[in-house]
Amino acid sequence: MLHLSQEPALTALLLTAPVAAPLVVAAGYTLTGLAAQRRPRPVSAARREETRRPQPVVKAAVVSRGTARAMTGADDKGEGDDSVPGKPVAAVRARGRHPADWAGLTSPVVILACASLLAADVDDGAVAAYSGLLRADALTVWMLLVIGAVALIACASAPSYLSGERDADRATGRTVMGVPPIERSREWGSYHALVQVFLGAMCLAVVTANLGVLWVAIEATTIVTAFLVGHRRTRMSVEAAWKYVVICSAGIALAFLGTVLVYYAARQAGIAEAWALDWPTLLAHADQLDPAVTRLGITLVVLGYGAKAGLVPLHAWLPDAHSQAPAPVSALMSGVLLSVAFAALLRYRVIADAALGVDFTRVLLAGIALLTLALAAGLLLAQRDYKRMLAYSSMEHMSLIALAAAIGSPLALAAALLHIAGHGLAKATAFCASGQILHLRGTTKIGRVRGLLARSPWLGALFGLAIVALLGFPPFSLFASELGIARAGFAAGSGLGWTTAAALLLVLVAFAALATRATRMLLGPARKGDAAVAESPSALWPLVLGLLACAALGITTGPLGDLLTQAATVLERP
């Protein structure tokens, strides 16, 4: 196989590109947005003025024209500013004419390409660049592949989602909390830039070997997604955004305190300042770390990154944020953000196991996993909102992954990583489909979505299949990974066996709740007077792609099998 590691410059490029590409695309979106406005004042000043005065019709019209150009990416030399002020520019453009919406697909493609090129390099260890700041091992490559694949689904669903939102804005002339639809359409301009920065931050969290930089990147994802969660500016979404930022920032601050304590222990163990937060160095010297300090640090880290991964006790933000964010962003948050935070936890777990023995993290993680699972299953039983239902299902799956991490055998770790990938793909598909259902029906209540299959067969079938995948049916890969986790759990001894049995019972409860709610949405006759809706293939192919990938991964891991084994080896105790 081609080995690129002989060329340090190329390695550095491959490691940098997944982080840099989304940031460059984001900068592109921002610059075209600014350039197209052609206004002497900075955006923020204009924005402040508009939010204070509710009636700047002329000004707002100009702004909306600017956004229109930003979104189409068109050169605006031909047009003057002499058209009728207040004319709804957005209405002139036909549906689906937003080529710039598709430019966002660049970065997932770059991420996937870099990951596959790096995969050849990491089969005998790891590659690093910038004196160890960026580093890729098999786990990094696996996570990059997951991020790339889920981002591909989410970014490919974005154009149809955005045009649906624009249609909804136009049709209702919706003025949400005094914000005219014109300004909202300008806000969609920043949507792409924020999503791209979000992707870049997640990639940085995965490719860095420095635990401090890892923390900075994960905290950055919170800040970037805050406005995406609160984009609707309704009472509900503002509340969700506030809770999201406060709970996640405070929770993840705990992880930073934990990082500081681990750093303190490392410095006392004689590691130099530059290397005391370097993951491979810490791992190599783990047995010299002071156990008492490390125990305190690791507990804080588990609580902190657990908050971001949707685990008890700081999980309260998750259902709110996931139900209020735009569907493609929910897909990214649920599909990868949770698992990126959990991958950070997995890295710390290896250090903790080497420093403290396996029992400490095992008890901690198993306890958290069971509590989260019980909570998610209980709340799924009473759920009436399908986006919240998907959010609680994410908590259920994250707690299964936490259980696998607690078991910690090679089989369990491989199953956990496979579960991360399968859950990412299936949940991204389900969330993107839920966005289209929301546009179709205008409600997120389960009880008011009936006869989805009769009215829009393709969308209904895809949503149903995604739920089937989440329930853990073959051929989807979640079946294989859940089976793997259960087998590893029962093989690991009586204590973990009972834990696994309890977990499976709770999974069964969640299964029943999810299945009955999904059937209620899908089956039943279409309401009278509802004509079948024309379904556009451009909105559906990303969903098909996601389900196909999930099913393919379930049938055979193919060339990814080796990578999966190597990634699990990275996470085993050295």
Partner: protein, 235 residues
């Protein structure tokens, strides 16, 4: 600087640092709370400066200056500006002359009253000393002996975050929490590496900007910045 002078000055700075956090629990005017937060930022910068002077490390002195500028200057300025926006909006809207006594700038009804809050702060400080015992034992120097102060401020910050109802008071609670962590980092290991410190400061700044904007939106949507009124989402 002699060893005993260093120890005394460091303990003085740490004392001021903890005292600022405790007095935050006592005051109800948001403006006063922000002033206390700025004072605490100065104490934090002083801790970093003393450590830098003691260890003859210029980079640490520069970091101390940066921390002072951010935590005693820029962040309090941002919160004060948000406060001013809330006050003037209200004054225009209702044409009140006595807007300084508006509900928005006071923590009128914290979930826990002042006396109980102060007692809790004492209990949290004791807890911090108990928890930090293994940390001090690992390397007993004057700096690490003061380390429980950082943890106590972390706990008090959490307490403010949980019991205060005004959005901006919660922001100050979050920042107290963050100050406490930074102090812990300095006292334990003379601060985290520079690149991490820079990233953390940048993240905190952005988080405050985001929370400031969200405060305005909360007020637009709910007509108040009382976070307890946010009850739309539940199961």
């Amino acid at each position: 600087m002699s060893e005993s002078l260093f120890t005394q000055l460091l303990d003085l700075a740490c004392g001021a640092f903890l005292l600022a956090a405790v007095v935050v629990l006592w005051r109800r005017e948001l403006a006063a709370i922000v002033r206390l937060f700025a004072l605490q930022g100065l104490a934090l910068a002083a801790i970093a400066l003393l450590l830098g002077l003691h260890e003859d490390r210029w980079d640490l002195i520069v970091v101390a200056a940066g921390i002072g500028a951010l935590r005693a200057g820029l962040l309090p300025y941002l919160i004060r500006r948000a406060l001013a926006t809330l006050v003037t909006d209200r004054a225009q809207g209702q044409d009140q002359a006595a807007y300084t006594h508006s509900e928005e700038v006071r923590e009128t009804q914290p979930l826990v009253n002042v006396a109980a809050s102060l007692l809790t702060a004492a209990a949290l400080t004791l807890l911090a000393y108990a928890v930090a015992r293994p940390l001090v034992e690992l390397d007993p120097t004057p700096a690490t002996r003061a380390l429980p102060v950082g943890l106590a401020v972390v706990l008090i910050g959490f307490f403010v975050l949980v019991t205060r109802r005004r959005a901006l008071a919660q922001v100050v609670g979050f920042l107290l929490l963050d100050n406490g962590i930074t102090a812990t980092a300095f006292l334990a290991a003379s601060g985290v590496p520079l690149i991490v410190e820079l990233g953390v400061s940048f993240d905190v700044l952005l988080a405050v900007l985001v929370l400031q904007l969200l405060t305005v939106r909360v007020r637009e949507a709910f007509g108040t910045t009382d976070i307890d009124d946010l009850r739309e989402l539940h199961d």
